[in-house]
Symmetry: C3
Subunit: 351 residues, 3 copies
């Protein structure tokens, strides 16, 4: 499970400038502070530059500037973090599954499974589903009728795709994720909720990652759509008819309400919530736990919420917020009266 | 997978007034803007009235008023959205499972499974459980000891019911939901948490829907109780001993803490959180991400949180909120002093 | 499924002072208000003292002080809630699984399963995994390569451990939990996210409890670490490289971002969110839905958010918060001007 790769091979793989012994054996990756004498490390964040001098790492991924001030072996690259990302896969202990179908799997006669795919124990594949070349389906995965997984996909154990879920190429889905669940669609008839069948599906682009226990509901009429290169962390909720633009990333615990449309290259930090039927333009960054109640038409960073305080102080602030409207009126009144008694008073803006 | 139904048949099914060709074949449903010439659409939201003129739909579900201004075929009904809800099921491509038990299922000898039920691959049903008439258990479902599912229930693949979970009739449970998990019950003994066995169960009424990856914990002593007609969206957390009144609906990512009691016909928008041991009366609407820290005794709408701002402005607001108590005191002080120097000053209310 | 235990036996088990009939048969536990004549109850919260007089319980767990004012049978103990916690397990109807491996389980030839462990239907155990003495693995559990579960562990049906997840002794994991998922690690290359392999694992201490559908990601380089005695409720997200100190408890729906370190004996209420790369010291209490954006270095209680209001009032408050910076400047200006016209004016603090 532990790879051993020579420093010179890593330089070649990365197209890096090697400074040091090309024969040095690298057995893993670690942080600057924790790396041992057979491990490679990297400096990406300037804050950690102070750890360079004491690092015991076999070698470091460094920018040219940083390499000048470092005496040890180095692989010099333009972007050390990206270089680390690329070689991390060489040291990944994740088991690779062999091609073939586990004898316990239950596969519909008219499902199409590429012979290079790996189908784990207790997998269920329903009628007319299609599993592409090189796809891995972990144990206990369920692929519903007519659903499709493009080539190179990797599904952890226990992923559920309902029927009519179309997944692009090289998509990674973590355990517990559910795609195609029946969205929250009900019509109210005199106080009683009547279910609306969710007859759309889900379309997921290429190179998407979907995290642990994340849910993406099927569309009510048309498909819910996840663009190419989208990265969704764990415990996310994507409601029916949502559209997520290419290369947008969402951290854990985000919730997107129905029919909302999110642009390309957006970043949603953890716990963000969006109401339904709004549009977020491209290149929007939402800080953690922001509550988004209307569309955003300008790129940029947005936030909501209050700063944490010691609980006793917070209780005062929270009480005062409820008085704010009254305070604002009293402030305006004071301004008028002070304006009356101070002849030079200039009217201040009433926001 | 695609149904074809004549327009006249749909009129009959709905009790609608048909205006147009009863023999026209309808193959599906779509929005006004997307419907093609074999698809039915509907106008429910007046905002979309502008799309009527260009709709290519085969026919529309319309109110009588709207039908007057529309030239094409129509099914005239009092509530088009409700009519759409009713006929949506006719076009639902969701596979129907045949009655019978998949040979891979593991079923305790003393469990009772109605012969009309459909039990999928790798299902586990434990001792003394009861599965009612017409129930569907998707692949990988687990039904614990003595648990019961009433007639007409539909459980997606991979639903877990622990022991002593009693489910009413026609209940729908989406994939990944877990009912009867052991609630968060611990007694603190000198800083160390001692587990309290959760010996109650879960009772779920009729016509309930439970969303993807939603958790409903078992009661500590008595049951956790979900009323009739309750609709729970995805990723919801219902803690031990909670009671939810009939026909209450909760959108995704809501969290209800232990022993809290929620009334009938309430609506909780996404991301709402409730502390434990409080009561919410009937007909309460909580807007998204509201933090509920005390009981609510009056019907109506309630909210908390701050409005989203560009991040730079938000940082200023957040800093000012921490100064609010100081600001309020200074405002009061100014009022007193201005009252002193301005003879006609009338005291303003100190909220 | 219902235990019957004599009152005298319970007194002996608890080391309690018995007042009443040692032969009285106890068949279960219930609250003061609901207990019937064969059930034991307890008084822990003084608020419930009013229910003592009408309780129909067979006997009560009471402090000596409370026992003086109560006429019925009693078990007198120093901490009734803790005593209730201890005896609750005697009345727990949770089925016990017999030792042995279900014939449907798929177990790698080089995995080591203690003969006293109970392995349920459709369990998958991969290469070089180790299952300790007395461990229960519920149906559909998945244990990845080289993962280990210490003695006495209890995993509900459908728990997923990826590879290289090391679990201590007596750990309880509820259904749907996923340990070792691939954390949210990506490097941005010209707007496109490149995946970083997550080569660390997860280490979980002894006596930990992990709730329904909770996710704990594997470390990027080193392990994600959960200390001894930690209790995690449902729907929690623990990102990669997080460290949680011993005996810390988190209620449902908490989200901890990557590389954050949480101290010992902390309590996080429901829905709390923490940004990444911060440190929380020991003995911190975070109230529900608090947004934590920086480290905490002093023990104590902390909060954020605004108090719930009727929605119409809340809209005014929310609008005013956006004007706060302007209000604060206007207030300062007024103070200066009033200071000018009132000779005795002393400058107030500008917070």
């Amino acid at each position: 499970m532990t790879a051993t790769i020579k420093l010179g091979q890593l330089a070649e793989f990365l197209g890096a400038t090697l400074r040091g012994d090309p024969e040095k054996a690298i057995t893993g990756l670690a942080t600057l502070q924790e790396a041992g004498p057979a491990q490679l490390s990297f400096l990406a964040n300037p804050q950690y530059r102070k750890y360079l001098v004491d690092s015991r790492a076999a070698a470091l991924l460094l920018k040219a500037d940083d390499a000048e001030g470092f005496a040890g072996d180095a692989l010099i690259v333009p972007d050390p973090y990206l270089a680390y990302a690329r070689i991390s896969h060489l040291f990944d202990p994740k088991p690779k599954s062999a091609a073939g179908i586990h004898p316990s799997a239950v596969i519909a006669a008219d499902a199409i499974v590429d012979p290079t795919a790996s189908i784990g124990p207790f997998v269920v594949i329903e009628s007319a589903a299609r599993i592409g070349a090189g796809v891995t389906l972990g144990a206990h995965c369920f692929v519903g009728a007519r659903s499709e997984i493009g080539e190179g996909g990797w599904l952890a154990p226990r992923v559920t795709l309902y029927h009519d879920v179309r997944i692009g190429k090289r998509v990674v889905i973590q355990s517990g994720a559910v795609l195609g669940g029946e969205g929250f669609g009900f019509a109210n008839e005199k106080g009683v909720w009547q279910k609306i069948a969710q007859i759309g599906g889900v379309t997921v682009g290429d190179d998407v990652e979907i995290g642990v226990n994340t849910a993406i509901d099927r569309g009510a009429l048309a498909d819910t759509v996840i663009g190419n290169g989208v990265k969704l962390d764990n415990q996310i909720q994507i409601a029916h008819n949502v559209q997520v633009g290419d290369h947008t990333a969402m951290a854990a615990c985000v919730g997107i309400s129905g029919s909302t449309k999110i642009g390309r290259h957006c970043m949603l930090a953890g716990g963000v919530g969006l109401v339904g039927h709004i549009e977020i333009c491209d290149n929007v960054f939402l800080t953690g736990m922001t509550m988004v109640t209307h569309s955003i038409t300008e790129p940029g960073s947005y936030s909501s919420g209050t700063a944490m305080q010691p609980a006793a102080e917070w209780r005062k602030s929270a009480a005062r917020i409820r008085q704010l409207d009254d305070m604002a009126r009293r402030l305006r009144q004071l301004e008028k009266r002070v304006g009356d008694v101070t002849p030079g008073g200039n009217a201040s803006s009433d926001g």
